[in-house]
C-alpha cells in the first residue's frame, strides 16, 4: 500500500484512547501535522490548579509525530514508538485547547526520528517540546 491521504485519514474521528481524550485533527503545513486536545475536566492531573495531566500531552504528541512520519513516507504502515522524551516547558493554561505539532526530522531504512512542540496559544510560546524515534515495522532492517 502506498500513498497517504491525510485528509481522508483525518476525516474519521479517532476511537479508542485518542477518542476518549477527545483528540481531533487541527491542520497541516510544510513538513508538519497538528492535532488538537480540547480541555476537559476529565483530563485534569492537578485538581488544585486545574492543570492538565501530562499523560494526554504525551498521547497527543505520540500521535502527531506518528502521523508526520506517515506523511513524510507517503505511506500508512505499522510503526512502533521506540522512545519519546517530553520536556514540560511550562504548565498548560487551564481551559485552553492544546495543539500538538509533529515533524519527521529524518527517515532511515528502519527508523524515523521525530520532534514536536505543544502549545496553547501560539507556536512561539510552546508548553512542551518532544523528541522521539519510531521503528518502521515494514522496513527490511
Amino acid at each position: 500500500m502506498s500513498g497517504f491521504n491525510i485528509d481522508a485519514f483525518m476525516a474519521h474521528r479517532f476511537g479508542g484512547h485518542a477518542g476518549a481524550l477527545g483528540i481531533v485533527y487541527h491542520g497541516r503545513g510544510d513538513g508538519w501535522v497538528e492535532l488538537a486536545l480540547p480541555y476537559t475536566d476529565a483530563l485534569i492531573g492537578d485538581p488544585d490548579s486545574g492543570v492538565l495531566a501530562s499523560g494526554p500531552i504525551i498521547a497527543l504528541m505520540d500521535m502527531a509525530t506518528s502521523i508526520a512520519v506517515w506523511v513524510a513516507r507517503d505511506r500508512f504502515a505499522p510503526q512502533a514508538t521506540l522512545d519519546l522524551r517530553v520536556d514540560y516547558l511550562r504548565p498548560a493554561v487551564p481551559g485552553r485547547t492544546v495543539i500538538g505539532r509533529g515533524e519527521c526530522l529524518r527517515l532511515t531504512r528502519s527508523i524515523a526520528f521525530v520532534r514536536g512542540i505543544a502549545y496553547d496559544e501560539t507556536p512561539d510560546d510552546p508548553l512542551a517540546h518532544v523528541a522521539g524515534t519510531f521503528m518502521l515495522m515494514d522496513a527490511n532492517a
Binding site: G15, G16, H17, A18, A20, L21, D41, A42, L43, I44, G45, D46, P47, L52, A53, S54, G55, P56, I58, A59, L60, D62, M63, P78, A80, T81, L82, D83, L84, R85, V86, D87, Y88, P91
Partner: protein, 131 residues
C-alpha cells in the same frame, strides 16, 4: 502526615486503581478497555505513558509525605516502549531513585504477566517545592 491516596480525574479516565503495600507506595493496575485502546488489540502508547507518569507521581507523593510533604512540578519524562501492550491488565510501579531538596529522580515500570518482562519504562525529573 499520611500519603494522599486520591487520584486525579485523568487517572480515573484511564481506569487506574491502586494496590496498597505495607511500607511502600501502592502499585497501579490499568484494566484493558476501549478508553486505552490504540491499534486494534493493543494498548495506546499514550495510555501506557500516562500510567507510568501516574505511577511515578504516586511513589513520589508517598516518599514526600514521609518528609513532610511538598508540591511536585514535572520537568521532563523519557518513555521507552519495549513490547506491545496486549488485551489484559497492566501493572505499574514507581521507584524514587533520589529525592533531593529541590529535584526528584523517579523511574516507573509497566508490565503485564511478568515483572521481569516490562512493556515500557520511564525516567522522570520533578521539581519539588517543599511545604
Amino acid at each position: 502526615m499520611t500519603p494522599p491516596t486520591g487520584l486525579p480525574p485523568y487517572a480515573e479516565l484511564l481506569g487506574i486503581s491502586l494496590t496498597p503495600r505495607d511500607g511502600a507506595a501502592p502499585t497501579l493496575v490499568l484494566p484493558f478497555r476501549d478508553a486505552v485502546l490504540g491499534r486494534p488489540g493493543f494498548l495506546h502508547g499514550g495510555a501506557i505513558a500516562g500510567l507510568l507518569e501516574v505511577a511515578a507521581i504516586v511513589s513520589l507523593r508517598y516518599a514526600l509525605a514521609e518528609e513532610g510533604g511538598g508540591r511536585i512540578k514535572p520537568v521532563n519524562v523519557t518513555v521507552d516502549f519495549m513490547r506491545g501492550g496486549r488485551d489484559k491488565p497492566t501493572h505499574a510501579e514507581g521507584i524514587v531513585t533520589r529525592l533531593g531538596t529541590r529535584i526528584a529522580n523517579v523511574e516507573a515500570v509497566a508490565w503485564q504477566d511478568d515483572r521481569a518482562k516490562p512493556i515500557a519504562s520511564a525516567r522522570m525529573n520533578y521539581l519539588i517545592v517543599r511545604d
